[in-house]
């Protein structure tokens, strides 16, 4: 292990890590938004839209992110939709993550007993109030473990962005291996940086999960 090498290229990884986190964060936020909307449509069984969302979920869950990215990055410009690599990454992550989030949130919504809605209505709440103040908070607490698993999964998936020449951690590692043949050091830094990103999320996730479980919403 050559520590000088590590010291010299550490900042390069830092920059790449920040990029990875930024794309990951934006993608996950967009995915969560898509997830909530899609789950709501599925839950309420809004005609037509329900079918479209079901189709989207199947498409997005049954294809790999790398293939989605290749299609967005190399295929779509041919029909006039040009996005730069970073935006592609965010769009791809949102497209993939949206369906996973939707499924987690929907299963949460469906776990809330019907009587909750009926009681809310009989207390004089409007349909919308019943959903936002009664159903949704309870649903989220059951969805949290699934959502956390999705966040970790999506953060890990960001590693494929190097294939569409986003200068992320994988890209940096591969570059350094190719340039200097310092395989051990480059891979070591790669692992360290991924751990620095993923470990806190995992630990935070399990803490949140425990808290929510103790909160004892629902049944």
């Amino acid at each position: 292990m050559n520590w000088e090498f590590i010291h010299k290229y550490w900042p390069l990884y830092e920059k790449a890590a920040i990029l990875t986190v930024r794309i990951g964060l934006l993608g996950i936020l967009a995915a969560a938004l898509i997830g909530v909307i899609a789950a709501f449509i599925r839950y309420r069984k809004i005609p037509v839209l329900n079918k479209i969302v079901a189709f989207y979920i199947e498409i997005s869950r049954n294809t790999p992110l790398l293939v989605q990215l290749f299609f967005i990055y190399y295929g779509l410009p041919k029909v006039g939709i040009k996005l730069d690599a970073e935006v592609c990454g965010i769009v791809g992550l949102a497209f993939l993550g949206g369906s996973y989030m939707a499924e987690s949130i929907r299963s949460g919504l469906e776990s809330v007993d019907k009587i909750q809605h009926e009681s809310a209505i009989s207390l004089g709440l409007s349909n919308r109030q019943a959903f936002t103040y009664v159903i949704f908070p309870q649903a989220i607490s059951t969805s949290i473990p699934g959502i956390i698993a999705n966040v970790i999964f999506l953060l890990k998936e960001t590693s494929v962005f190097s294939a569409i020449s986003v200068m992320d951690l994988m890209f940096t590692a591969k570059d350094l291996i190719g340039l200097y043949y310092r395989t051990t050091e480059s891979l070591f830094m790669l692992v360290v940086f991924y751990l620095m990103i993923l470990l806190p999320v995992c630990i935070l996730g399990s803490i949140v999960e425990r808290r929510v479980r103790y909160a004892g919403f629902g049944t």
Binding site: N62, L66, V79, T158, S159, T184
Partner: protein, 224 residues
């Protein structure tokens, strides 16, 4: 109507070549699954044992595999171990190693999860009925575990097939690589081939995974 580059797919044996690429991806995941199922079963049963050292060891193994993106694992095995250990490893073998390690960990956890989920009274009732330990396992526990496990392990298979798209990055010629080659070869005659060819790859993966995951969904519904 703009040129979508779909014509390239029907030129010569291009479509066949894409399918060949897909079968390469399927081959890697099938071999990995064939290794992970028996080994994963063993690991899963061992994980429920009361031996603390064994438990901790497998836990560490599982979490290490889980926390790292698969692409990082592929890089470590393909670039890292060849450098430090000095052996020769082609991309295909490296990916089979990584997918097997991953599969064993996930399978082991699935088996452990379903074994633990069998309520205690099942063991107790079998004992009360006079079944021996082996009989309990064979006739009571295993049938129930298998039912819980099969849909979940089919999901693992689709996850694995989807993840095989990553082996492109360590130089294995699979469906995405073939697609790139086809696009490159037809750059002059149909400049828009990227759209049609990548769309086809997208659809191929979709059909393959959709069929498999539908089977899992059906089994889950029937056995729940």
């Amino acid at each position: 109507m703009p040129d979508l580059g779909l014509d390239v797919l029907f030129k010569g044996s291009n479509f066949l070549r894409l399918l060949e690429g897909l079968s390469e991806a399927a081959k890697i995941s099938l071999i990995a699954i064939a290794i992970s199922i028996p080994v994963g079963l063993l690991v899963g049963v061992l994980m429920t044992s009361k031996n603390i050292i064994l438990k901790v060891l497998f836990r560490v193994y599982l979490e290490t595999i889980r926390i790292m993106p698969q692409l990082v694992l592929l890089f470590i095995v393909f670039f890292g171990t060849t450098k430090t250990l000095g052996w020769k490893l082609d991309g295909e073998t490296a990916s089979i190693i990584v997918f097997s390690l991953w599969g064993v960990a996930e399978m082991g956890d699935l088996v452990r999860g379903s074994l633990v989920s069998i309520p205690k009274h099942q063991y107790e009732s079998s004992k009360a009925l006079g079944l021996s330990k082996n009989q309990t396992f064979l006739y009571v526990i295993i049938p129930q575990t298998v039912r819980r496990m099969i849909p979940l392990s089919i999901n693992l298979i689709t996850r694995m097939i989807k993840t095989t798209s990553l082996v492109l990055m360590i130089g294995v010629v699979e469906v995405l690589k073939v697609a790139q080659q086809i696009i490159e070869a037809n750059r002059m005659s149909s400049p828009n081939a990227a759209f049609g060819v990548f769309l086809m790859v997208f659809l191929l993966y979709f059909v393959l995974c959709f069929v498999i995951s539908s089977i899992a969904g059906m089994l889950e519904k029937r056995w729940s």
